[in-house]
Subunit: 252 residues, 2 copies
């Protein structure tokens, strides 16, 4: 049974894209099939996986029903990791979608009429907002994977994000649940990191993955080479932490 | 003559809010009057300045014309630094605005009918997107201050942001210009930081401020105390760099 996970947080720069790319790659090397969907107009997951933005046969034409899943899917350097590419003009989609009926269901509709049986996991990279693109991801998903940066503002926004998830579950997607929460850019030497960890543990309990993603410069260098960190520097603390997270995800 | 600056970048987590709060405070201590407008539904600038979200008399009622500027402005712990508070339900505003006529002009309209003569600078904190809220800020502003994190994805998004600014200038706001670009979270020990600096210098030339904002943990601790860094730890490298940036801004 394919698991569709939205990787979301309206706070910007908290490691959503880095998690989609590297968790996706780490799951794929466990002999699984993973599909990454780049729903962010910045198209960072697309370039971080070495692909170029889609003029056609990308997320835009998939959501609108112009192209099928098979026409849009491209491969990456990792066997078992496939991608539906993002595009900058997706930013205009949000304003376009706003005036349509069923505007929250476009992605859910496109996925439910596609054959996902080849995939064990679908990871959706969301933009930093609670606008229509992220709402589309939450309506289409089975679960939400929250990335929480070990910083004050990131923690502050968490309750609002959880409220939004509850609202989406009540109105549009009964099966939506919080699949898990991962602390990113964690530095055990910093008091701030430990304080955020304590709060997140109290607030989230079992939903919090025990894997912490450390701040590791190799994670921020890898995208400029268009590779997941496991191909760029497999022995780095960043690569090892995403392998550990993949094992936790596979066991849930 | 009041200068209205939008602090913008669709890339998330690049230091927009940190710059609005700390540049604002550093300009204010040079015997200037500064107004911060929190246009981000996350309302981080509001909490980072020690204020609580506005139910009424905040950015929402100011933009809609329900309340005047004088009714919405609140003071902060820094003399000369005032604030129009943000609010979470602002996220719904973008979807609401989408169907209105003149939807790009709401903030410009509210500011042009207000008395700004008390203020030397107005700094608008933008959300991490190129949606209607950021467009409203760019239409209302005299200039844009871009914060660019010293990382690959942040640099990648720059050309798209500059294209958007040119489009806004051509269609809706003839006076809009790039006021300046500041590199944030700069770490001179990292090759990535130096590479981003080289690219930014080539791409932006004189628009690039010579001040670099270093990565400094005191900047990320200050918001949890609701204070600008100049009140939290005035001798930190973070505080000193924003004072240096303020001097550069005042000289432009
Ligand atoms: N654990 C980490 N250690 C060091 N750098 C990291 C780590 N995780 C992410 N980064 C870097 O931090 C920046 C922000 O990460 P990323 O772009 O993945 O966040 P995001 O939540 O997807 O951002 P946005 O909100 O803009 O979509 C990027 O430059 C990335 O390379
Ligand atoms: N120079 C710096 N050194 C260390 N930490 C920083 C620095 N600048 C910002 N931060 C921290 O990095 C995180 C992102 O910064 P900030 O929230 O200001 O970015 P933003 O662009 O406003 O984010 P968003 O896109 O979500 O609005 C925050 O937790 C902040 O405290
Ligand atoms: Mg991202
Ligand atoms: Mg911000």
């Amino acid at each position: 049974m394919t698991k569709i996970l939205a990787v979301a947080n309206q706070k910007g720069g908290v490691g959503k894209t880095t998690t989609v790319i590297n968790l996706g790659a780490s799951i794929a090397v466990h002999d699984k099939e993973v599909l990454v969907i780049d729903l962010d107009p910045q198209a960072n997951a697309t370039s971080g996986l070495g692909s170029t933005e889609a003029d056609s046969c990308g997320i835009h034409s998939f959501i609108s029903g112009e192209n099928s899943l098979e026409e849009c899917v491209v491969s990456t350097e990792i066997e078992g990791l496939s991608l539906i590419r993002g595009a900058r003009h997706l930013a205009g989609t949000e304003i376009e979608l706003a005036s349509q009926d069923e505007r929250e269901f476009f992605l859910a509709e496109a996925l439910s009429t596609s054959d996902l049986s080849n995939y064990d996991y679908v990871l959706i990279d969301c933009p930093p907002s609670l606008g229509l693109l992220t709402i589309n991801a939450l309506v289409a998903a089975d679960g939400v994977l929250l990335t929480v940066q070990s910083e004050y503002y990131a923690l502050e926004g968490l309750s609002h994000l959880i409220e939004t998830i509850k609202r989406i579950k009540a109105h549009w997607n009964k099966r939506l649940k919080i699949f898990g929460v991962v602390l990113t850019m964690y530095d055990k030497r910093l008091k701030l990191s430990r304080e955020v960890e304590e709060e997140a543990d109290k607030f989230l309990g079992k939903a919090l993955f025990s894997t912490r993603i450390p701040r590791n410069v190799r994670l921020s260098e890898a995208p400029s080479h268009g590779k997941p960190v496991i191909l760029y520097d497999a022995y780095s603390s960043g690569a090892k932490s995403y392998m550990s997270l993949a094992r936790e995800v596979l066991s849930r």
